[in-house]
């Protein structure tokens, strides 16, 4: 049951739109920064396959400029 965190960077002026699209996806938990154009995103899926599918879905969101995966505190080189 993978849980993964990301930083989602919107295209210019598209922060709210991106937030709405991410929030509409059940497996996503999105928290926007108040003073920067970036959204902290956590995905929680049931399997690796489902996670891969979700990743593909996320990459089709037009307001999304860049999705940068963030590992947990105790994972390989990532910070």
């Amino acid at each position: 049951m993978p849980i993964t965190s990301y930083l989602a960077h919107p295209h210019e002026g598209k922060q709210q739109e991106l937030l709405e699209e991410l929030s509409a996806i059940e497996a996503c938990d999105a928290v926007p920064a108040q003073n920067r154009d970036v959204i902290a995103l956590v995905t929680a899926t049931e399997s690796k396959e489902e996670e891969a599918q979700l990743k593909i879905q996320l990459e089709t969101i037009k307001s999304l400029k860049l999705l940068a995966m963030v590992s947990g505190f105790n994972t390989p080189k990532n910070a």
Partner: protein, 776 residues
């Protein structure tokens, strides 16, 4: 962040993942605010009372706002008004309030009777502490009692401890754990400038073009400050150079990572000076006007034997002699010793030497926990002095601290054996000055220092010290060569008092355990790395009979007959103590801001003169204490000049050999505060980093067929320990080196470390000893 009720494991992991993302964002965008998350979980309609405080943890001194409701702290957020962190917090800061609410919080005094701890009242426990101390003094003399505090002591805690022991009892047996973390920084400042603490401030970060991190994993140890460096790179394209013995998160984020062999930073620093002079980059006018050259004794030893003593004998040298000395430190010669390429040595020197670049050097434990810690501090100052890149915005050698009040309490109040709040015990005028304010006879204050920390615990082992009171620190995890000192503390005829908030390996050796009030459960002040003093009020009640360390000391002092000196009223004692303390620093070089100023703003930097803080000391443009009529005045020295020291490379106390072929270094991780006694009780932090490990280089691991998670046995001349391996994870040591964090009381790495120390600062070297590594 709100302290939620216990959620299920999946929700818990999701929360951790969200925190990871926010922490990463904070590293990229300093000052970023996730207000929705920070306030999530706060009960609907909650009427939170937000009050400011400095963070409880590291020496950066971030300003936080604490939300309380119904007598409990329930939320934390970064204080956007704080010039230190501008609204940002690290993972520890966001969870700081949870450290107050661990299940096993100490709430009642415990007294050991027939091998078992028995609850008693605070009044009875304090009676016992006072009577035991008096009894020990009567039987064994005043130098048989001692106090060991910390850089987590508030300013009033340390002040009353020093007043009681040095002024009233008359022993200089006062030490603090800051001896283990920044004593070399102090002696570095004193030998180079004659006065302690950085000349610059965090605002230097906004002006510097190049940052050189000397053995300093800022990304984990000072994450908020590091994010300010990253922010400047985004805005201005500054360069960050990580100069270290191990690849860390800092190395990965830096523009350039340069790895050197342990101990050879001494040689590389001299090589940089060689290049500066050889290439004509020396600022001749600055050096001629503001610097002297000196050399000291060499081959000082390493303090490994009991009662080791060393006193340096400085002698003047000429620039010509200094240049001759540097001929042994050409990049070519130093490259062979240090493992740093000639090109990289020249690269470092070129950044310092470029007259159009402002350079900030930053360091912490890598340079301080070093058997030649004072020397390497001197050598980095040499680089800045030779180029004149000092005491001006962006040109700043900056020694960082690891604890919230290592500067404020230990260095400024002077809770080390040789120190007084103003000056040193060896100086008659300083003793008389302190005695007058303390209202004690001047002859009460002994003119000789007694024991520095390592020697204090050796004295406890030998029986020269019979009574030790330990407050807000955990030496039974942090002392090097720990087994000796643990066994010593347990010997018959020793009486140990420990004031803390949770059970620890140190409370395990106690005869009396006093429950302490923590942080905003009492009133106090901390002083951070940039000379900023910050006030916090009491926001919640401490649990049970827990009492502030300040008040514990006052109560014991009164019981010992010092009512006159400890005249403070319960309701105003912090204000009275702070006002009394300010009198020690009532001069342009160190004046402290009035309490009413500290109450209304997120701290103030000293010297605070005519209603203004001083950002850059020794620079006449900014510092009203400069009085020599020149552009710079290093007024810590009588002639107003700083010293460029001729200090050679010397090897470490113990280096790898055929039997113990690896280097062992120790350190910290971002999730845990020092020994983990608080942060390991915060579920999200404990889960994120549940236990210690040993990092190996992948080539070594492959050769030894060790994979992540495998058990690895480490053996030194002091003993052995088994830990799980970590290969290619967070940090990667150089080949034939291993690294172990020290936060885990179940894997006490200090059982096998070495108690060698810098002969000048007496600070132990936790970064270097020889170890055998085997798959268990």
């Amino acid at each position: 962040m709100y302290q939620s009720v216990q959620t299920n494991r999946r929700d818990f992991i999701k929360k951790m993942a969200m925190l990871s993302a926010m922490t990463a964002a904070a590293g990229m965008f300093p000052g970023i605010i996730f207000a929705e998350e920070q306030e999530r979980g706060i009960p609907t309609g909650a009427q939170l009372d937000w009050k400011k405080a400095p963070c409880r943890f590291c020496g950066v001194g971030c300003g936080v706002l604490i939300g309380t409701e119904n007598g409990k702290a329930v939320a934390v957020k970064g204080d956007p008004k704080s010039p230190v962190n501008k609204g940002l917090c690290c993972v520890k800061g966001y969870h700081s309030i949870m450290a107050m609410y661990g299940k096993d919080r100490l709430t009642k005094p415990l007294v050991k009777k027939n091998g078992r701890y028995v609850e008693t009242s605070m009044q009875e426990a304090l009676d016992l502490v006072a009577s035991k101390m008096q009894e020990t003094i009567e039987e064994h003399g005043k130098d048989a009692v001692s106090i060991y505090g910390s850089g987590q002591w508030t300013i009033p805690d340390g002040y009353v401890a020093s007043k009681l022991f040095k002024g009233c009892i008359g022993t200089n047996n006062v030490e603090a754990n800051a001896r283990l973390c920044m004593a070399s920084a102090v002696t570095g400042f004193l030998t180079s400038f004659g006065i302690d603490e950085p000349m610059g401030c965090y605002e230097d970060i906004d002006h510097a073009d190049t940052f050189v991190l000397w053995g300093n994993n800022m990304a984990e140890m000072h994450p908020v400050l590091f994010s300010r460096l990253l922010d400047q790179r985004l805005k201005r394209g500054v360069k960050i150079i990580d100069f270290a013995t191990r690849t860390t998160r800092t190395s990965m984020a830096a523009d350039k990572s340069i790895i050197f062999n342990p101990q050879t930073d001494l040689a590389v620093a001299n090589a940089i000076c060689h290049e500066i002079i050889n290439n004509g980059w020396m600022n001749n006018a600055f050096v001629q006007e503001h610097c002297n050259f000196r050399k000291g004794l060499t081959n000082m030893g390493y303090g490994l034997e009991d009662n080791y003593k060393f006193t340096d004998k400085p002698e003047p040298v000429s620039l010509k002699e200094y240049k001759k000395f540097l001929e042994d430190y050409t990049p070519e010669k130093v490259s062979k010793l240090s493992g740093v390429s000639v090109k990289d040595i020249k690269y470092l020197a070129a950044h310092y030497g470029d007259p159009n670049k402002k350079v900030m050097s930053l360091w912490c434990m890598g340079m301080n926990q070093h058997t030649r810690g004072t020397w390497i501090n001197n050598l980095v100052y040499n680089i800045h002095l030779l180029t004149g890149k000092i005491s001006s915005p962006g040109n700043s050698p900056f020694s960082l601290t690891g604890q919230p009040s290592a500067c404020g309490t230990v260095r400024e109040v002077g809770t080390l054996t040789h120190k007084l709040p103003h000056g040193v015990v060896m100086n008659k005028e300083h003793r008389e000055f302190a005695a007058k304010i303390w209202d004690v006879p001047a002859e009460n204050i002994a003119p000789k220092p007694t024991y520095h920390t390592v020697e204090m615990f050796r004295a406890l082992d030998r029986g020269d010290i019979r009574f030790m009171w330990i407050q807000v620190t955990n030496p039974m995890v942090t002392m090097p060569k720990l087994k000796r000192y643990r066994d010593g503390a347990k010997k018959e005829g020793r009486f140990i008092v420990v004031s803390d908030i949770y059970p620890t390996p140190t409370t395990d050796i106690a005869d009396v355990i006093l429950p302490s009030a923590m942080w905003v459960e009492r009133e106090g002040m901390y002083g951070n790395s940039e000379r900023r003093t910050q006030y916090f009020e009491q926001m919640v009640e401490p649990p049970g009979e827990a009492m502030s360390d300040t008040m514990q000391l006052i109560e014991v002092a009164k019981r010992m007959g010092f009512e006159k000196q400890f005249y403070y009223k319960d309701e105003t004692h912090i204000e009275e103590i702070y006002n009394e303390y300010r009198r020690h620093h009532d001069n342009k070089k160190h004046n402290m801001a009035p309490l009413e100023v500290l109450k209304t703003q997120p701290g103030a930097m000293w010297p605070y003169v005519d209603g203004k803080e001083t950002k850059w000391r020794f620079n006449a443009k900014y510092d009203p204490a400069c009085s020599n009529g020149k552009d710079f005045h290093f007024y810590g020295k009588k002639d107003g000049k700083a010293i460029i020291w001729q200090r050679p490379y010397e090897p470490a106390a113990e280096e790898p050999d055929a039997e113990f072929p690896f280097w062992l270094g120790t350190g910290r991780v971002v999730e845990h505060w020092h020994t983990g006694s608080m942060t390991r009780r915060i579920p999200v932090l404990h889960q994120a980093m549940p236990h210690a490990y040993v990092e190996l280089h992948p080539e070594d691991a492959k050769r030894m067929q060790i994979r992540t998670g495998d058990s690895v046995k480490l053996t030194t001349r002091r003993g052995e320990i088994t830990l799980p391996a970590s290969v290619n994870e967070r940090g990667v040591p150089a080949p034939m080196q291993v690294f172990v964090p020290f936060f885990d009381e179940n894997m006490l790495i200090n059982d096998i470390t070495l108690d060698s120390f810098c002969p000048i600062s007496k600070e132990p070297d936790y970064k270097k000893c020889a170890v055998k590594v085997e798959k268990a």
